[in-house]
């Protein structure tokens, strides 16, 4: 663990520092290292005759309203998506609001109405919640914490240990839309964009994958903070397998690409809120892409790579990318805070 004495912004970035903080400070206190499930998006619990998925998340986004969504839709979709990638249909969720003194009530109203609409569209009920107000200045605007409960679909058997050599890696659409759309609205950044956040529920496409592929679907995750790079790094680490992806196969949104160029960011590390990474048996690869493409949110789905083999003994697992010019480079777990660069 870094020997700095204060939490850095990067500790919340979804990259290396986040993992370290969880592994070295939080887990030992709450559950110990044997809680392997602690680093997955949802915990799968067994109840007689059922498998349940339980997830929790907190949402801290600024600005609270951004192009393509707001913290309300984000809270619903983010929670539902964590359940979806565990192969679960969402049943119910909680929503706790922590609101800053002084927040405009009409803004709060817009946010909760937006959350309500999204929940209805997705088919999940917000069954309980909590509201707290903190003195002005303690936090910026508001934060939302949620817990989501879902029922794991029959036939869903997902996990790092299911990943095998030769499996295909499938991505449901272009990268970076959420992170860049939010960034465009930050004060002080002389930058604006037509980009809309991709914030959306993945519940249906994920369920469709489970139903169509069954045991051929080995793993799913939504690449949020830290982007695709963090997800692939976690996948490689968790499954102890090397991964190879092909830059030219990654679906692209030209506006997102332009925004990343302007801000000096790597699209692979920018947050998404409506994208899915699936690891499927090689022979089910085409079918997986076909199934996903039936859904608007996954219309640009594509196979972007494959699992090349178990990691070399004694070596950390590697994520390699074939670049657009046919060269090779590694894809590293992002540090945690990608500062847009200048010079």
């Amino acid at each position: 663990m870094s020997d700095t004495t204060h939490i850095q912004l990067a500790h919340g970035g979804g990259g290396q520092l986040t993992t370290e903080l969880i592994e070295q400070v939080i887990l030992p206190a709450l559950g110990g290292p044997q809680q392997a499930g602690a680093l997955t998006d949802s915990a799968v619990l067994t109840s007689p005759g059922k498998r349940l998925a339980l997830t929790t998340d907190s949402y801290v986004v600024h600005p609270l309203e951004f192009p393509g969504g707001d913290i309300g839709t984000l809270a619903i979709c983010g929670t539902v998506n964590d359940l979806a990638v565990a192969g679960a249909r969402p049943t119910a969720m909680t929503m706790a609001l922590i609101i800053s003194e002084g927040l405009d009530i009409s803004l709060l109203k817009r946010i909760v109405e937006s959350a309500g609409r999204t929940a209805a569209e997705v088919g999940v009920a917000v069954v309980t919640g909590d509201t707290k107000v903190v003195p002005g200045g303690a936090l910026d605007g508001m934060m939302i914490n949620t817990a989501g409960l879902g029922e794991v679909l029959d036939g869903a058997n997902l996990g790092f240990n299911q990943v095998s050599t030769g499996d295909s890696v499938v991505l449901s659409g272009p990268l970076g839309e959420h992170g860049l759309a939010v960034m465009a609205r930050r004060k002080g950044l002389r930058f604006s964009s037509d980009l809309l956040s991709d914030c959306a529920s993945l519940s249906e496409p994920a369920a469709a994958l489970v139903e169509a592929l069954g045991g051929d679907l080995h793993f799913m995750r939504d690449p949020t903070r830290g982007g695709l790079a963090a997800t692939l790094a976690d996948l490689a680490e968790g499954s102890a397998h090397d991964i190879e992806i092909d830059e030219a196969s990654i679906p692209v949104n030209p506006t997102a690409l332009g925004a990343a160029e302007i801000l000096g960011l790597d699209l692979l590390t920018v947050a998404n809120e409506g994208k899915l990474v699936a690891v499927v048996a090689a022979e089910a690869s085409d079918q997986a892409v076909e199934v996903l493409r039936k859904y608007q949110v996954a219309r640009q789905a594509a196979r972007i790579g494959h699992i090349t083999g178990p990691a070399e003994t004694g070596q950390p697992p590697l994520v390699e990318m074939i670049t657009s010019i046919g060269g090779r480079r590694i894809v590293q777990m992002p540090y945690g805070e990608e500062l847009p660069r200048i010079c």
Partner: protein, 373 residues
């Protein structure tokens, strides 16, 4: 996947392969041919595209002092840290993102921010002036780091601050000129440099003819390139072609660069800054290589305004950034690389800067799997 770009890249690599062999045959040397890129953005572009792996074994691309953050002496960071943490006026330190995680002797600006100091990332020097206008009750100090591409922006910011009478804006400059560093490297004589891949956007300002003094005096081809793989390959090809025919000229394969550069930018630099000696990490003090504010703009000099103490230059034990910057050592040759020194916990600037050679090697290279391509 055969796409147009792949076929063209392959053709370029084939031609480079042939030219390499011609150069080595005619010179009787065993090689390898060593071309130095002096621009951090080239280092990153090369690493990110995996280009080095497509080049023949007897051609090496060495990265040089092209990362302005990396060549900034650690004493500058210490001064900035002093501003952020010790200064009673509690100024806001406005800086490009690249500088935030560079370690000084007592930590980085990012760590200072976590401890309560006022450090803000800005995207341009102009934005730092805006910040000063916005926060009339606080001093704003801009960390002006960069080469010829970035310095005109700082010049414009100072002129604006004067024009609009902004009382709470000042800057701390560590801006540098790249040509003196190239000459210093060649005078050092311990790294064989057969040719230079010259920076694209610095050259937009300087003009490609500026490299004639290097080409002629030191008999090394100097070719300006833009920032994609085909550009880099075209420049490498042009350098090799010159070597084959025994020429040493300054040219450009980057259409956006004019022979004379941007005169207006150079005039602005001259109006606001005076050339001075500067301390370069790895290269020591180089005369006429830095920029200081002219006396007429003295009131915008943060060192004076805040009576900043001098800080000594300190060697970090085990850190080989200086050697990496001079092209003497590949990042993987440093004992700390990937172990005590990683992007997450960097010992030196080359690992933490977004354009540092070590960061490029770590982030994009197969550092754990044997020699770098």
């Amino acid at each position: 996947m055969t796409r147009a770009v792949d076929t063209e890249i392959r053709r370029q690599c084939d031609r480079i392969d042939r030219l390499c062999r011609q150069v080595l045959e005619s010179s009787g040397s065993a090689g390898p041919i060593q071309i130095m890129e002096v621009c951090g953005t080239h280092t990153m572009c090369i690493a990110r595209s995996g280009l080095a792996g497509l080049l023949p074994d007897d051609l090496k691309l060495i990265s040089g002092p092209g990362c302005p953050v990396c060549v900034t002496d650690q004493s500058y960071i210490d001064r900035a840290m002093h501003l952020a943490l010790e200064c009673k006026q509690r100024p806001i330190v406005a800086t490009y993102g690249d500088m935030v995680r560079v370690p000084g002797s007592g930590g980085s600006l990012g760590e200072a921010r976590a401890a309560g100091a006022r450090v803000e990332v800005v995207y341009s020097a102009d934005q730092a002036v805006e910040l000063a206008l916005d926060r009339g009750d606080t001093e704003v100090v801009f960390l002006a780091v960069g080469f010829e591409t970035t310095a005109p922006g700082a010049a414009m910011a100072v002129l604006r601050a004067r024009r609009e009478n902004v009382p709470n804006f000042s800057l701390m400059t560590a801006q540098k000129f790249i040509l003196p560093a190239m000459e210093a490297l060649l005078s050092q004589d311990d790294v064989r440099i057969d040719g230079f891949l010259c920076p694209g956007h610095v050259s937009v300002i300087l003009g490609w003819k500026a490299y004639e003094q290097i080409a002629e005096k030191y008999a090394r081809p100097c070719v300006v390139a833009g920032f994609d793989a085909p550009q880099v390959l075209a420049a490498v090809e042009a350098i090799l072609a010159q070597l084959v025919s025994g020429r040493a000229e300054a040219t450009s394969v980057y259409p956006s660069v004019a022979a004379e550069g941007n005169r207006r930018a150079m005039e602005l630099l001259d109006e606001v800054f005076v050339t001075s000696e500067a301390s370069w990490r790895g290269l020591g003090v180089i005369p006429e290589s830095g920029m200081e504010l002219r006396e007429a703009f003295g009131r915008f000099d943060a060192a004076v305004r805040f009576d900043l103490p001098d800080f000594p230059s300190r060697e970090i034990p085990g850190c080989r950034c200086g050697d990496v910057i001079c092209g003497r050592l590949h990042p993987t040759g440093c004992g700390l690389f990937g172990k005590q020194c990683t992007p997450r916990r960097a010992v030196g600037p080359c690992m933490v800067s977004s354009e540092g050679a070590c960061a490029a090697a770590y982030k994009y290279g197969l550092h754990d799997r044997g020699p770098m391509q």
